[in-house]
């Protein structure tokens, strides 16, 4: 009897382990195309950039002369690179101060609006449909100190005229400012969904205990959406550190390098100076910087938890 029971138990375990070992082909097959695309268009360029960065790259007879870490040494010793790095991080700080928090606030307000809630959500989404370059061009025209809308309107109330992109000290702010007005979009929806997923019972209990709106935000909402904020922050941070389109369209890194960022330097080194080796080294360096910052973020988050 005892032996029979043991035998049955043994067979059941065998079946379980067999089913564990069984490869589930359906999800793998569904994922395969995207994995291939990811490797071809993401990982291959990354590894290729690392390889190119070790050469004085010759585009006609690749890879050219092997220089080891010579390209890295060269850009790390260049003043222009450190100007670009400084500007890149100033853009990050400015963007965090002016842009990052806006969709969180929008989502907080929206979660308290019951009437026309859907309409507001649609209204917030519409600007994100506008192509980035088109939006940036509009702002560039509005900033024009000769015929731009901003100086005209500010002049009506006795302010200005301002140089905007023609002012060495104002350029960075002028580049970041459009983000304040167009930062809703998907981010706001994610925060909204995260807030809505918090159990209403918690809010009701808090209200009964006399918890006011500010405390509800600080003690209930923000702690419950921290993970979404972290994920959004990582995307936001890498987006800003690699931002190119808006700066390229507005100033091309000028005036006098006031808005020169590393992404722009990568483009100029490759396509204006035809120095693809240094350009690849810069790209890989930025990749490492973003990876390090992301790991730090996750570590800090884990420690908090």
């Amino acid at each position: 009897m005892e032996n029979q029971r043991e035998l049955q138990l043994f067979e059941t375990n065998q079946k379980r382990s067999r089913s564990r070992k069984k490869i589930r082909w359906t999800p793998i097959l569904f994922l395969l195309p995207s994995i291939i695309v990811f490797f071809v268009f993401k990982y291959y360029p990354i590894f290729d950039a690392i390889y190119i960065s070790l050469f004085n790259y010759d585009i006609i007879n690749p890879p050219g002369r092997f220089v080891g870490f010579g390209n890295y040494e060269e850009f790390l010793g260049s003043e222009t690179f450190w100007i670009a790095m400084k500007n890149t991080f100033i853009f990050l700080i400015l963007s965090m101060a002016i842009v990052f928090w806006v969709p969180i606030v929008q989502a907080l307000f929206l979660s308290n609006i019951r009437r026309f809630n859907g309409m507001y959500r649609v209204l917030y989404q519409i600007p994100s449909v506008l192509p980035i370059v088109a939006g940036v061009l509009l702002w560039k025209w509005m900033y024009n100190p000769d015929r731009g809308l901003f100086n005209y309107l500010l002049g009506k109330i006795g302010l200005g005229p301002y140089g905007w992109l023609n002012d060495l000290h104002m350029t960075k702010l002028a580049i970041v400012l459009p983000g304040f007005f167009a930062s809703g979009g998907v981010g706001m929806l994610l925060y909204y969904a995260a807030i809505k997923s918090i159990s209403s019972e918690i809010f009701e209990a808090a209200k009964i205990d006399g918890c006011g709106p500010w405390r509800r935000i600080g003690m209930i909402i923000l702690p419950n959406i921290t993970f979404v904020i972290l994920i959004q922050f990582i995307g936001f941070m890498s987006g800003v550190l690699l931002s190119f389109d808006n700066i390229f369209v507005m100033t091309q890194g000028g005036p006098a390098d006031a808005s020169l960022v590393v992404a722009l330097m990568i483009q100029k080194t490759a396509f204006v100076q035809s120095r693809f080796g240094i350009s690849a080294a810069l790209s890989f360096f930025m990749f490492i910087v973003i990876v390090i910052l992301t790991v730090i973020q996750f570590r800090l988050q884990r420690e908090e938890e």
Partner: protein, 476 residues
């Protein structure tokens, strides 16, 4: 640039030859104006006879497929012209199948280098003069010496015109077109201000610009170039002050001359135009297309530019309102004009068959009949004709009849003293632009200090390595 030996002799020889052609055009006084139809179809594409076609392209020849980056966008004023030429080429050379790609978008240089780096470079393209020099150095341009030397068409080109795309006696490009630069002014605004002639000196320029601005409310006297290509126009002022931004040394190394007396005077003049005379637009960092737009919309009275005015006439500006004059002379009493243009370049990576087909393709466009068709089309459609032809057998007098005589005289005068852009421009541009933008935006900046900083940075980041490579024999 003081020492560029062969290159400079080439430039001088070409411009003299071009002038001879253009002067013939002026002197012939052919006033046989044909009516401008306004329709692209008014110029009919020349067709070769059937026997000619058959002899040029025997059907036994294998089909060769080439890629050309020359498709015009739908809104291009010369789309009909190019399409007709493509059609004619296809008819005449059935063995050469050409895939035309639109390369007219912005950032063409970036796209070109990306394509080349990815092994997808076009078999035939049309880079500008300064790019051509870089592409020869980088090995992107094919050596077409044998094709050129064995072509009966070679002697039709202006003397020495191949030299600008040659290195060590080998030829890498087929001259496509050329232009010369000068001061472009709006005659209507000049008339309103009671100014009879374009300014001839720096001092005159500043006062004329002030008068124009004053008498034409809502306009600016001069649209200065302060954006990414700021060094392009700034170099003219350095030349006018008697210097240049770089000097090529006999051993091939390069010496920076950003802090020369001429460069400092030029930058001080830029600063004065903006802050002392206040004759420039406020948006000094706008790019060149915006400067052109300001000009053809009547918002600025003067800009600098090339002798090809299609950008203005193509946007509705009356050719009779456009004046062209040599640059005002600077403290050195000179005002050299920059010679620009483009070459047809064959891809060094293409197979020999494709290279031959690409060469045939380029020479088709440079043939007498296609060149005449090109100029006739421009004339018929009021697109403005650049009076400088790169081939000798075109009678320009037939096509410049609608170009005002004073414009023509201005172009010819400015072409008398040509100069090439400063050496290593593509690598040094961003360093030169920085002090220009600084003085245009900061009234307290000192030109010498800014130029000094730029020179030190460029020396450290570009020139030291460049010279080291040159001296050690590493190809640039």
């Amino acid at each position: 640039m003081k020492q560029r030996g062969g290159f400079y002799k080439s430039i001088a020889a070409i411009v003299v030859a071009v002038l001879l052609v253009a002067l013939t055009a002026c002197g012939s006084g052919n006033k046989n104006n044909s009516e401008a139809s306004g329709s692209p179809s008014s110029s009919s594409s020349p067709k070769a006879s059937e026997s000619e076609s058959a002899s040029e392209s025997p059907s036994e020849e294998p089909i060769v497929e080439i890629t050309a980056w020359d498709l015009q966008p739908a809104d291009s004023p010369i789309k009909a012209l190019k399409d007709a030429q493509f059609e004619e080429f296809a008819r005449r050379y059935p063995n050469i199948k050409v895939t035309h790609i639109d390369a007219s978008q912005t950032n063409g240089r970036e796209k070109f280098l990306t394509a080349v780096a990815g092994g997808e470079g076009p078999d035939i393209s049309e880079p500008a003069f300064p790019d051509m020099q870089v592409y020869i150095q980088k090995g992107i341009a094919a050596d077409i010496t044998d094709f050129v030397n064995s072509s009966p068409e070679k002697d039709r080109f202006i003397e020495g015109s191949f030299n600008l795309a040659s290195k060590d006696g080998r030829i890498y490009g087929i001259p496509d077109y050329m232009y010369t630069t000068g001061l472009i002014y709006n005659k209507k605004l000049f008339q309103n201000a009671g100014v009879a002639n374009p300014p001839a000196t720096w001092d005159e320029f500043a006062t004329v610009a002030q008068t124009l601005q004053e008498k034409n409310p809502g306009t600016v006297g001069f649209d200065i170039l302060g954006m990414d290509w700021a060094d392009w126009h700034f170099e003219y002022y350095v030349w006018q002050a008697g210097g240049d931004l770089t000097e090529l040394q006999p051993d091939g190394t390069v010496k920076l001359t950003f802090t020369s007396d001429a460069a400092v005077k030029a930058l001080q003049y830029y600063k004065d135009l903006k802050w002392k005379y206040k004759v420039t637009q406020k948006n000094v960092v706008q790019d060149y297309p915006d400067n052109q737009k300001d000009f053809y919309t009547g918002h600025s009275a003067m800009i600098l530019g090339g002798s090809d005015t299609a950008a203005f006439t193509g946007n509705g500006m009356d050719p009779n309102d456009i004046g062209f004059a040599p640059f005002p002379v600077g403290p050195a009493g000179v005002a050299p004009s920059q010679v620009g243009g483009a070459f047809y370049m064959v891809n060094a990576k293409s197979s020999p068959e494709k290279q031959k087909a690409a060469f045939t393709y380029a020479m088709f466009f440079m043939s007498k009949e296609q060149q005449e068709y090109f100029y006739q089309f421009h004339k018929d459609n009021g697109l403005g004709v650049n009076p400088l032809a790169i081939v000798k057998d075109i009678d320009m007098s037939q096509y410049v009849t609608d170009v005002p005589a004073d414009f023509l005289a201005g172009v010819l005068k400015s072409a008398e003293n040509p100069q090439l852009e400063y050496y290593l421009k593509s690598s040094l541009s961003s360093y030169v632009v920085k002090p220009i933008q600084k003085v245009l935006l900061d009234p307290n900046s000192d030109p010498l200090t800014e130029l000094q900083k730029a020179q030190e940075l460029a020396q450290k980041e570009v020139i030291d390595k460049y010279n080291e490579d040159v001296l050690s024999g590493v190809a640039q």
